[in-house]
Symmetry: C2
Subunit: 352 residues, 2 copies
């Protein structure tokens, strides 16, 4: 069993992928990039394509407003393009709704999709509609990357700096607030309006050695990157700097440990990326020019795995496999899951 195969979710994807032959013109193997990258035969560009379905978050009650459902469907696909540095050409969508849904529900989804597209200057080109027992929304986005600037999850090396495109944790704040049935005002659904980092991705691809979006949460993203790259990351656990301000407020108000917001599986479409040491200054200068101020998380290290640097200065190597498989097993109550999280955090001496 490789360090990669011990994650149940990765195994589930491999169970599908092993049936399918990969063509020679495809640049990436399974797991290696957020979007599929294929040679187009013109020698200068790669086509980037990605597909994402939003349904579990709706079934679990994380999204109750159809506008959120539509917004996230578009952003989830576009974020995969951002993580490979692609310039989007457009999206197609497939929408499945319960037959008894009102027109206002459909219109809310469509308005959320349209607003997300307007926010990023992208277009929905067409789609498919179906009836189903539950709401299921699929977005498929495609775009182009210059061949010489391809950006994937793999490629980072020890000493590279690790960055985060913006404050994380909003996905888990919304998720925990909704699952635990806390009052809406503690973290309103309307405050969850993640924007795919498309513009930033086009800059990042010029400098970065690897990149992945935080759609599955920050720590899981970091864990996936170290597994794929056979390296380690040494990461600051200074949550006040890593998490978005409203996420820290949510934790302050509810008493939920802040590290939970990095550890959960419902993400927010920021980008985690690595920059070789000799390119960091030039990158930060170019980023500043577009008012993009990424958060420096730490560095790539030789020793495999994730190491957190606690505010006390203490270093703790965390075992993410046990945490990730808690969620993948999927048969625990929320109370039990939270207890297991507390126990996990205590084991690795994480501070709230």
């Amino acid at each position: 069993m490789s360090v990669f195969e011990e994650i149940l979710e990765n195994k589930a994807i491999d169970a599908w992928a092993r049936h399918f032959a990969r063509p020679r013109f495809q640049v990436n193997k399974p797991h290696e990039s957020d979007a599929e990258l294929v040679e187009m035969g013109d020698g200068s560009s790669l086509l980037a394509v990605t597909i994402d379905t939003v349904s579990e978050e709706i079934a679990q009650g994380l999204y109750r407003d159809p506008f959120t459902m539509g917004w996230v469907t578009v952003m989830a696909s576009l974020s995969d393009l951002a993580a490979v540095g692609a310039r989007p050409l457009g999206l197609v969508i497939s929408v499945s709704l319960e037959p008894d849904r009102e027109g206002s529900f459909r219109d809310g989804i469509a308005e959320g999709m349209a607003a997300a597209c307007r926010a990023l200057g992208v277009f929905i080109l067409g789609g498919d509609t179906n009836t189903a027992r539950e709401t299921s929304l699929t977005g498929c986005a495609f775009g182009f990357v210059p061949r010489g600037e391809k950006l994937m999850r793999i490629g980072c090396r020890p000493q590279d700096a690790v960055f985060l495109s913006g404050g994380a944790g909003r996905g888990n704040a919304l998720g925990l607030r909704a699952l635990a049935r806390m009052p809406e005002e503690y973290f309103p659904e309307a405050s969850y309006r993640p924007a795919a980092r498309l513009k930033e991705g086009e800059l990042i691809r010029k400098f970065a050695s690897s990149c992945m979006d935080t759609s599955d949460g920050l720590l899981i993203t970091l864990d996936q990157l170290v597994r794929l790259n056979h390296t380690g990351f040494s990461i600051t656990a200074d949550w006040g700097r890593v998490l978005a301000p409203d996420v820290c407020q949510f934790c302050g108000r509810t008493g939920i440990p802040r590290w939970f917001m990095a550890a959960g599986i419902h993400g927010e479409f920021e980008l985690v990326f690595t920059i070789p040491p000799n390119a960091v200054d030039e990158f930060l200068e170019a980023a500043e020019k577009m008012n993009f101020r990424p958060i420096r998380l730490g560095a790539v290290v030789e020793k495999p795995g994730l190491e957190l640097v606690l505010p006390s200065g203490e270093r703790t190597g965390i075992d993410m496999a046990s945490l990730r498989n808690l969620w993948a097993a999927g048969d625990s109550s929320l109370t039990r899951l939270l207890e297991e999280h507390h126990a996990w955090g205590k084991k690795w001496r994480l501070e709230p």
Copy 2:
């Protein structure tokens, strides 16, 4: 109300599309082509993209073998590419399965998808997996069309010849056999293995004035084409020549009128296309060279609507809107639907 808007299914698509701005680089408007066609900026090619979800056919019990589910998901998307004459670059898929499904169910779907890809030399590049209350499979296919040979649903003119790429009716034979719970052997599910007409589409695009696949059944496809083109079609109702041989056998054995197999909504991914009169000979010669023998259905005429030429020589103009909206209403029992079909056919003097 235009002749186009009286169809409930078209209105449902428009209810979505009206929320979305269309970009200037998109060639087609809603309904105008089986796949979305966009300028790629290189001046020589169009990118064709399409998305299709297979779920209703599974929920209704039309497909029980996971292999069929996977096969059709791939073919449905590729057939949309065939109908615009595109050469495919690949597919991405999104699969949602019930959490308690066995691995063999997933493997069956994957094998059906892989076999369909192998049959046409196409590749699945990646995808997304989810859990859901019912099986839902989405395919998104993309490919290229030379800019000067774009093929859409619109463009046919009176006097053009109307062709069908191969015998129709298998979709409706399977559908009716399954819905009416007739013995499997009357029309085995394994005999429903439609193959997208990709190779033929690349030839057709060089000659044809319009094209659309029969994924929604033959008569509905013809009706959609006449509405979009503001023309009429005069079509032979010689069912022995228009339907596939095993479909005619199914009708002979069960006593179901053969025209039902053209009138139902579950299609089989043949192509309906029109060829200008002065190009017919050259087209047929080129088709013969690749052993492709399309069925001549009739001709485009000035007078709007669908006219069937019965074997007796009698001509009958049929009203497809009433037939299509029977299905779209969707709240009738099968028995009632079949009665309504019989009454509809009698009204237009259709022969079994």
